[in-house]
């Protein structure tokens, strides 16, 4: 235990800001997960692996001399089609099945993606340098890498665009209708098959954006996907499906929680603390549910 974070107010501020910037990025990944979970009732274990694949797209652009920031445009386009392909090959066969089957199927996709990425890109840890410099605040006591600010900004832009798209566009309305009641939507002439494919594609595209941002801000590695899956799962569990402000708030909350866990318990417990929080929240939810049930009786 180390309470240094509370002894210096500047460290507390630094931890909060780092956490919020990180949390916005997590929220973007979680939003994609919430979307396809809500619409298709599928928990995508391969979410983190799609993120990493998006990161590799930005990394390869960087290797070929293109600024990795362009990755936030190129990666979602490519990943959209990857998403559609995964849907056509695997997901459409499990979409109406039990939740457990879809978890198994996406778990399989996750393992396949890890091995394929390892095979194609090698096991080295890589990163893409953005050269964005640093913002210093409060007499250089609080340091914010501009790459993190850029990531948070782009995440917000994409989230806002998506919300508008879901509200205004025809496909967006179809997606929302399918999420509410797939059968009714089908009767009213919505091609749910197409909606499912598009939803999975949009989710993969969001993962692509997040991956490109992660390769600029942190590092990527073929086996680094799982922590991102767990984080987005956790955010969605807390926020609930179809609740975008909730996803954003719980994303930022998780970011700040992780930062504080890092300072207080040590970096080695960072991911562990997320798992612990997940267990606590699931237990709490169950507890709340059982009380509700008694009340209904």
């Amino acid at each position: 235990m180390d309470f240094l974070v509370f002894q210096y107010p500047m460290i507390t501020l630094q931890a909060c800001l780092d956490g919020i910037l990180l949390g916005v990025l997590f929220a973007l990944i979680a939003y994609g997960m919430a979307l396809q979970w809500g619409v298709m009732n599928i928990i995508n274990i391969a979410q983190g692996d799609l993120v990493i694949l998006g990161g590799y797209i930005a990394y390869f652009m960087y290797l070929y001399g293109i600024h990795p920031a362009w990755g936030v445009i190129v990666a979602p386009v490519i990943m959209y089609f990857v998403g559609i392909a995964i849907y056509k090959l695997v997901i459409n066969k499990v979409v109406d099945r039990d939740l457990f089957i879809s978890i198994l199927a996406t778990f399989g996709i996750s393992i396949l993606f890890m091995q394929l990425m390892n095979f194609a890109f090698g096991a080295d840890v890589v990163l893409a340098n953005s050269g964005y410099g640093t913002t210093m605040l409060f007499d250089n006591n609080v340091v914010l890498p501009n790459s993190k600010i850029f990531s948070a900004f782009i995440s917000i832009v994409f989230a806002v665009c998506l919300v508008i798209y879901m509200k205004k566009s025809k496909l967006g309305r179809a997606i929302r209708a399918t999420a509410q009641n797939a059968r009714a939507a089908k009767i009213l002439g919505v091609d749910t098959e197409k909606v499912y494919a598009a939803t999975f594609g949009i989710n993969a595209a969001l993962c692509g954006v997040a991956g490109a941002l992660i390769s600029i801000t942190f590092t990527i590695h073929p086996y680094m996907g799982l922590p991102y899956t767990i984080r987005s799962f956790m955010i969605v569990i807390v926020a609930g499906l179809g609740n975008l402000p909730g996803v954003a708030m719980s994303g930022m909350g998780l970011g700040v929680f992780e930062e504080f866990a890092d300072y207080i318990l040590g970096t080695e417990f960072r991911i562990g603390s997320v798992f612990l929080l997940l267990v606590l929240i699931l237990v709490y939810r169950r507890f709340k549910l059982s009380r509700k049930r008694e009340y209904l009786k």
């Binding site: 091995q115 096991a123 840890v125 890498p145 790459s147 942190f218 300072y263 970096t267 080695e268 562990g272």
Partner: protein, 412 residues
């Protein structure tokens, strides 16, 4: 009766098939000495696994083309059976069993990483199979009393203690304040033990002692603490991802520290890919091509590096060099033992005392090489921004003078 005959002939066919397949892989077939190796060709260690394999192959080709191994007046050539351990310790142990009990291999080369070597060592020990390994540096490998394990590299606890001693020396012999962050794996934790020993020896104080997770990609919290507490030395060890994460975030957060000491800088290609961000980082290495050790097969480090680059298209990391050295050690031991008896070869290995292009090799009773010091290099950049690793310690091989303290980011 007829059925019995059929069963009998089936069983004997199986026996014949099995015995011939074993014979075709036995330890020494015709003029070939067959060694076995489980190597990480896929999985998270696959890049270093390939470096290891390239090192082995390069030495096999070189030794075979320069006359092979002379035992009992006859000349033999090396050959290696490889299996892919998928970077998985359990798989590595299974493959070691398979190499020994099915393929009949009687001499083994090590895998990549301390963790996998730890998984294989009990198996080779059980069967009394001598293993020369080149990529497992964890101290715990050498304290278990293994009799058949020999490592050509210096143990992990010696990686960075030179850095602490140098820092104390530059501080006028006065103790220094150390901040350290280590991944929680066998290797990095051994490097940490080395630092603790060095701190105790020099009376230095450890003011930050962080552990890094396996999924590390953010160490901002540690670096914020470093910024606030201003230690004299920052030590980071967490394989390639530790080195990369540290370099990126130190540069982004403009963390000023007089000395930054790390491991795995060359595997992370710091000087080539991260240029000025990695400038002044001090890195521990088992080997550097500019060292002046010599042998008859590869001549010296520079020649080895040039030949390696010609064959594989990249500058050899120390993982390849030490792997090549393992074959030189085997050749020398076979010739001195003048036999393929495992016990005799083991005793010959234990008595090894030789120089290779990679360094002097002499094994302690625990199996670690005690005759080869670690080297420290510093990433140095010229005005044009191109960076290079230059050896700064030990002084005997230093090609440049250590730059200390590291200039502040505001002055660069």
């Amino acid at each position: 009766m007829k059925l019995n005959k059929i069963i009998l002939s089936f069983v004997s066919a199986l026996v014949i098939l099995f015995s011939t397949s074993v014979a075709s892989f036995a330890k020494v077939v015709g003029d070939k000495i067959i060694l076995g190796a489980a190597i990480s060709l896929t999985g998270k260690y696959s890049s270093n696994g390939v470096h290891t394999q390239n090192g082995y192959n390069m030495a096999v080709d070189r030794i075979n083309s320069m006359g092979g191994v002379k035992v009992g007046g006859k000349t033999y050539k090396f050959d290696i059976i490889y299996y892919d351990d998928e970077s998985n310790p359990k798989r590595a142990a299974q493959l070691a069993e398979r190499l020994i009990s099915q393929d009949g291999v009687e001499f083994m080369l090590g895998p990549y990483s301390s963790g996998l070597t730890k998984a294989i060592a009990p198996v080779t020990e059980k069967y009394g199979v001598p293993m020369v390994e080149a990529n497992g540096a964890s101290r715990s490998l050498f304290t278990k009393g293994y009799k058949y394990l020999f490592a050509v590299l210096a143990p992990a606890n010696l990686y960075l203690d030179v850095a602490i001693e140098t820092a104390v020396e530059l501080n006028g012999g006065k103790p220094v304040r150390i901040a350290q962050a280590f991944e929680q794996d066998a290797f990095s934790q051994d490097v940490r033990l080395g630092i603790l020993d060095a701190a105790e020896r020099t009376g230095s104080k450890i003011i930050i002692d962080d552990k890094l997770p396996k999924e590390l990609n953010d160490m901002a919290a540690t670096l914020v603490k470093v910024k606030q507490m201003k230690p004299d030395v920052l030590v980071v060890s967490g394989h390639t991802k530790g080195a990369l994460t540290a370099i990126r975030q130190i540069a982004e957060m403009k963390v000023d520290v007089p000395m930054l000491a790390m491991t795995h800088c060359d595997a992370a290609k710091l000087s080539k890919q991260h240029g000025k961000n990695s400038q002044y980082a001090l890195c521990a290495s088992q080997w550097h091509k500019s060292l002046t050790y010599k042998d008859d097969f590869f001549k010296d480090g520079m020649t080895y590096a040039a030949d390696f680059e010609k064959e594989f298209g990249y500058d050899p990391p120390y993982q390849s060099a030490e792997s090549s050295a393992a074959l030189l050690v085997f050749k020398d031991a076979f010739e001195r033992a003048n036999s393929f008896d495992q016990k005799k070869v083991r005793d010959a290995l234990a008595a090894t005392n030789m120089q290779t292009f990679y360094g002097n090799i002499k094994f302690a009773p625990g199996g670690q090489n005690v005759d080869k010091p670690m080297v420290l290099f510093q990433v140095m950049c010229d005005a044009s921004g191109s960076c290079e690793n230059k050896v700064v310690a030990p002084l005997k091989w230093a090609s440049a003078k250590l730059i200390h303290p590291i200039p502040k980011w505001s002055e660069r």
